[in-house]
C-alpha cells in the first residue's frame, strides 16, 4: 500500500501558529514605524510652525510698538518723555532681536526670506538714531518730517517682510498638517492590509491543517475498509463521523487481532505437535539422519546415526563430518557435497566409509539434500545414512571370490581350448550322431504321449480302485466280524483263529490299497508352497502319536528348526512318517530317544530324524525307499512298505534329497533337504 508522508500533526499546528505570529509581528513593525513617523511629524507641527509663527507674530507686534514709540518721540514735550520713549524703543528692539534668533534657529523654509526681513530690521536703526538726534537737538519739525516719510516707509517695509515670513510659516504648517493626514491614512490602510493578510493566512493555514488531518483520517478509513476485505458491507456509516468510524474500526481490529492471536496460538500448537512428531520420527527413524552446516559441522543427529558411528549426540555436535570420515573418503565426500551444491548431479546418493568411535571402518549409503534459507541460498545439509557395513563386507567377500573365480575361469578356459580342439574333431562324428538323436526324439515324443495317456488311465484306475476294491474288503471283514460275534461259541478255537487271520489279512490289504492310492495321488497333486514352521508340525505329530504309545517311554530331543518354504500338508506327511517310523523301530529298545534337528552343510539346511532303534544293514540303505520294500517281517514291525516311498516322492517333488544312515542295533538317521 502507498504510504503518504505527512509532517507530524503537532508540527503542522506549530508552523501555522508561528506563521500567524510572524505575520502579526511584521504588520506591527510596519505599524510601529508609521506611529514613529506620526510622532515626529506631530513634533514638527507643534515645534516649528508654532514657534516660528509665534516669534514672527511677536516681531510684528514689537515693530508696531516701535512705530507708535517713534510718534511719541516726535511729539515728546520734555526730556523725560523723550527718554522714556527711547527706552521703550530699545526694549522692543531687543525683543525683536531675540525673536529673530528663535526664528533663525527653527525656521525650516527659505532662510533668504528671514535674512531679508532681519536685514531690513538692522537698516532701521540709523533712521531711528537720526530721528532721535534731531529731536534732542530740538529740530522737531525735521524729525517729524523724517519720521513721517522715510521712517514710516521703512517700518511698513519691515512689516511687509515679516508678513511674508508669517505667510510662509503658515503655509508650512498647513503642509505639515496635510502630511499628518496622509501618514495617518497610510498607517490605517497598511494596518488594515496586514490585518486582512494575517487573517487570510490564518484561514489558509487552518484550512490546510483541517484538510490534511481530515484527508489522512479518510485515507485511514479507506485503508481500514480495504484491509477489512469482505467485511466492508458490514461496516457501519455512523453518519460520516470519521472518529466514530475510526473508533469502531480500531475495536473491530482489536477483536480481529484477538481472534487472529487465538488462531495463531492454535496453529502454533498444531505446528508444535507436527514438529514433535517429525522430530520423534527422525529420532527413531530406521535410518541415520544428520543435519550439518554447509561446511559440514554436525548440528543434529538421530539415534540410528549415533549407534552407527558410536558417538553420543553431545560428542557429535562438536565434530565435523570429515572427522568421522576415513582419510581416503574425505576428498570424495567433499567433492560429492560440492557437486550436490552446484546441482551437477541428480542422484545425490553415495556410498562412503566412516570411522567408528572405536576406530573400526564402517560403511554408509549416504543420500544428501540441501535445505535452503528464505533467499534460496544453501543453508544446511540434510543427510540420510543407511548402515551398509554388512553389505559392503559381503561385497568384499564376493569380490575375493570373484578373483578366485576369474583365476579358475582362466584355467578352465585353457582346458576348454584344448577340449574345443578335440571337440572340433569330434564334431564331425557328432553330426552323424545328431541325425540319430532326431530319430530318437521323435520316438520320445510318441512315448511321452503314450505316457500322458497312461497317466490318465492310472487316474481313472486309482479312482475305481478306491471305490471298487475297498467294498469287497469291507464285506469280507464285516461278515467275518459278524461271524465272530454271533457264532464264536459254536466254533472251535482253530476256526476262530482262521476267522481272525481272514480279518487281519483283509485289513492289511485295505491299508495297502489306501497307501497305494496315497502314493499314486502324490504324483498328481501340485505343490502348494508357503512359509511353514517345522517345529509346530513336529509338536503336532508328537501329540498325535501319544495315544498309540501310552505304555512306552520315549524321550524326544527337539533342536531349533528354521522356517521352511514348502507344502505344509505334504511336509506334515513326511514328518509324520519319519517320526512314527522312529517310534516304531525303537519299540524294542528300553530308553528310546528320538532326535529331530537341522544342520547346515554347504549353506543348505539338512534336516534329520534320528533314533536309537534296531537299525539295519547299510547295504540296504539305497533300497529302503523302493515301493513295497521291507527290511523286517510284519510280525516284527507292522507296515506296508509304501510309507518311505511316499516320503521320497514328496521330497523329490520339493527339489530336495533324502538319504539314510543306519547301523544294526545302534539306530537309524534319516536326512533330507528341501
Amino acid at each position: 500500500m502507498r504510504k503518504i508522508k505527512h509532517p507530524k500533526f503537532q508540527t503542522r499546528l506549530f508552523i501555522g501558529l508561528l506563521l500567524i505570529i510572524l505575520s502579526f509581528s511584521i504588520s506591527s513593525v510596519f505599524y510601529y514605524r508609521d506611529i514613529q513617523e506620526i510622532n515626529k511629524v506631530t513634533n514638527d507641527i507643534f515645534e516649528h510652525p508654532y514657534t516660528v509663527n509665534k516669534s514672527a507674530r511677536d516681531i510684528d507686534i514689537y515693530i508696531n510698538a516701535i512705530h507708535r514709540s517713534m510718534s511719541d518721540i516726535v511729539l515728546s514735550e520734555n526730556e523725560i518723555e523723550l527718554n522714556n520713549s527711547i527706552n521703550l524703543i530699545n526694549r522692543n528692539e531687543q525683543l525683536i532681536y531675540d525673536n529673530f534668533k528663535i526664528v533663525r534657529e527653527k525656521f525650516l523654509g527659505d532662510l533668504e526670506l528671514m535674512n531679508n526681513a532681519f536685514a531690513t530690521f538692522v537698516n532701521w536703526k540709523p533712521i531711528r538714531d537720526e530721528i532721535i538726534n534731531l529731536v534732542k537737538n530740538g529740530d522737531k519739525n525735521t524729525a517729524a518730517k523724517i519720521a513721517k516719510g522715510k521712517g514710516n516707509d521703512h517700518i511698513l517695509l519691515l512689516l511687509k517682510k515679516t508678513g511674508l515670513m508669517i505667510d510662509y510659516a503658515d503655509e508650512k504648517a498647513a503642509s505639515f498638517n496635510q502630511n499628518l493626514v496622509n501618514i495617518l491614512n497610510h498607517a490605517k490602510s497598511s494596518f488594515l492590509l496586514f490585518f486582512i493578510g494575517a487573517l487570510c493566512l490564518g484561514i489558509i493555514i487552518f484550512l490546510w491543517i483541517f484538510y490534511s488531518i481530515s484527508s489522512s483520517i479518510n485515507n485511514m478509513i479507506k485503508r481500514i475498509k480495504n484491509a477489512s476485505g469482505d467485511k466492508i458491507k458490514q461496516f457501519p456509516n455512523f453518519d460520516g463521523n470519521q472518529l466514530t468510524i475510526l473508533d469502531y474500526a480500531i475495536s473491530e481490529f482489536e477483536n480481529r487481532e484477538k481472534t487472529l492471536e487465538e488462531k495463531v496460538n492454535n496453529r502454533t500448537n498444531e505446528l508444535r505437535k507436527a514438529q514433535n512428531l517429525l522430530e520423534s520420527s527422525i529420532e527413531n527413524a530406521n535410518i541415520g539422519i544428520v543435519t550439518t552446516t554447509i561446511e559440514g559441522k554436525i548440528q543434529k543427529a538421530n539415534n540410528y546415526f549415533c549407534d552407527f558411528v558410536g558417538y553420543s549426540k553431545e560428542e557429535l555436535i562438536n565434530l565435523n563430518y570429515t572427522d568421522i570420515t576415513t582419510k581416503e573418503d574425505k576428498l570424495v565426500g567433499e567433492k560429492f557435497v560440492k557437486e550436490v551444491l552446484e546441482g551437477n548431479i541428480k542422484d545425490s546418493s553415495l556410498s562412503k566409509a566412516y570411522v567408528h568411535k572405536s576406530g573400526k571402518i564402517i560403511f554408509g549409503q549416504v543420500s544428501l539434500s540441501i535445505i535452503r534459507d528464505s533467499n534460496n541460498q544453501p543453508n544446511q545439509l540434510f543427510t540420510q545414512i543407511r548402515d551398509i557395513t554388512k553389505q559392503k563386507k559381503y561385497e568384499l567377500e564376493l569380490a575375493t571370490h570373484k578373483n578366485d573365480l576369474e583365476g579358475l575361469i582362466e584355467e578352465r578356459t585353457r582346458e576348454l581350448n584344448d577340449k574345443t580342439l578335440k571337440l572340433s574333431r569330434s564334431q564331425e562324428a557328432l553330426t552323424y550322431l545328431l541325425e540319430d538323436v532326431n530319430d530318437i526324439r521323435k520316438e520320445l515324443e510318441i512315448s511321452n504321449n503314450k505316457l500322458l495317456d497312461a497317466n490318465k488311465e492310472l487316474e481313472a484306475f486309482s479312482y475305481s480302485v478306491s471305490h471298487d476294491l475297498k467294498a469287497p474288503l469291507r464285506a469280507i471283514i464285516g461278515f467275518s466280524q459278524i461271524l465272530k460275534e454271533d457264532y464264536a461259541p459254536q466254533l472251535n478255537s482253530e476256526s476262530n483263529r482262521y476267522i481272525n487271520l481272514v480279518i487281519d489279512n483283509a485289513e492289511n490289504m485295505g491299508q495297502l490299497i489306501t497307501d497305494l492310492l496315497e502314493f499314486s495321488r502324490m504324483a498328481r497333486t501340485k505343490l502348494d508352497k508357503s512359509q511353514v514352521d517345522l517345529l509346530t508340525i513336529v509338536q503336532r505329530v508328537k501329540r498325535e502319536l501319544e495315544p498309540s504309545i501310552q505304555n512306552r517311554k520315549i524321550s524326544y530331543k527337539i533342536k531349533p528348526l528354521p522356517l521352511i518354504n514348502a507344502d505344509e500338508k505334504l511336509i506334515y506327511h513326511v514328518v509324520q512318517n519319519l517320526i512314527s517310523n522312529a517310534v516304531k523301530f525303537t519299540s524294542k529298545v528300553e530308553n528310546a530317544i528320538v532326535e529331530i534337528g537341522c544342520t547346515n552343510e554347504n549353506k543348505r539346511n539338512v534336516f534329520y530324524i534320528k533314533d536309537n532303534g534296531i537299525g539295519f544293514n547299510k547295504k540296504y540303505a539305497g533300497r529302503i525307499f523302493d515301493v513295497f520294500q521291507r527290511l523286517h517281517t510284519v510280525e516284527e514291525f507292522p507296515g506296508t512298505g509304501i510309507g518311505l516311498s511316499i516320503v521320497q516322492r514328496i521330497i523329490l517333488k520339493h527339489g530336495g534329497k533324502i538319504w539314510v544312515e543306519s547301523e544294526i542295533n545302534k539306530g537309524t538317521t534319516f536326512f533330507f533337504t528341501l
Binding site: 479312482y463 478306491s466 471305490h467 475297498k470 467294498a471 469287497p472 474288503l473 469291507r474 464285506a475 471283514i477 464285516g478 461278515f479 467275518s480 466280524q481 459278524i482 480279518i503 483283509a506 485289513e507 485295505g510 491299508q511 489306501t514 492310492l517 495321488r521
Partner: protein
C-alpha cells in the same frame, strides 16, 4: 405310503447289510428306507414315478448317500436335493469308500452336511455309521 425316518441310498448289498446291522446294534430303531439306484432315489424323495402315492410333505429326517450308484450318481442326487426348496433342509450324509479329494470338495460345494469315508475295519465302520445317523437324527428331531 408311509415315509421312513432314514433314507439310505446304496447299491452294494454287503454294505447295506453291514450298515443296517451297525445301526440296529447301536439302537437306531428308526424306520429305514433303502433304495438301490439313483433314479429311484430321486423318485422317492420328490414323490414321483414309482413313489407318486407318497405324501411329498412327509420328508425323511436324514439321507445316507453313497456316491457310486447305478443310473444317477450320488453327487448328482446331492446336487438335486440341495437345490430344491422342499428337500434342501434334509441333512445329507455322504457315505463312501472314496477318499478322493475331488469327491470331497464337490460334495461340500453342493452343500453336504457330512462326508464319511467308509473305514475298512468293521468296528470303525459300524461306529461311524451309527454315530452319524444318531447325530443327525438328534439334530433334526430338535429342529
Amino acid at each position: 405310503m408311509e415315509t421312513k425316518d432314514i433314507l439310505y441310498i446304496e447299491d452294494n448289498p454287503n454294505d447295506i447289510e453291514l450298515t443296517l446291522r451297525a445301526l440296529r446294534k447301536h439302537n437306531v430303531a428308526n424306520s429305514i428306507q433303502v433304495i438301490k439306484d439313483g433314479e429311484e432315489a430321486l423318485e422317492y424323495t420328490f414323490a414321483t414315478g414309482r413313489y407318486v402315492e407318497r405324501d411329498k410333505n412327509e420328508r425323511p429326517k436324514i439321507i445316507l448317500l453313497d456316491l457310486k450308484l447305478p443310473k444317477v450318481g450320488g453327487l448328482e442326487i446331492l446336487k438335486k436335493l440341495k437345490s430344491e426348496e422342499q428337500t434342501q433342509n434334509i441333512p445329507v450324509v455322504v457315505l463312501t469308500s472314496s477318499s478322493e479329494e475331488q469327491d470331497i470338495l464337490e460334495s461340500y460345494n453342493y452343500g453336504v452336511n457330512s462326508y464319511v469315508v467308509k473305514p475298512i475295519k468293521f468296528e470303525n465302520f459300524s461306529e461311524a455309521v451309527s454315530t452319524l445317523g444318531l447325530y443327525w437324527l438328534l439334530i433334526n428331531e430338535s429342529l
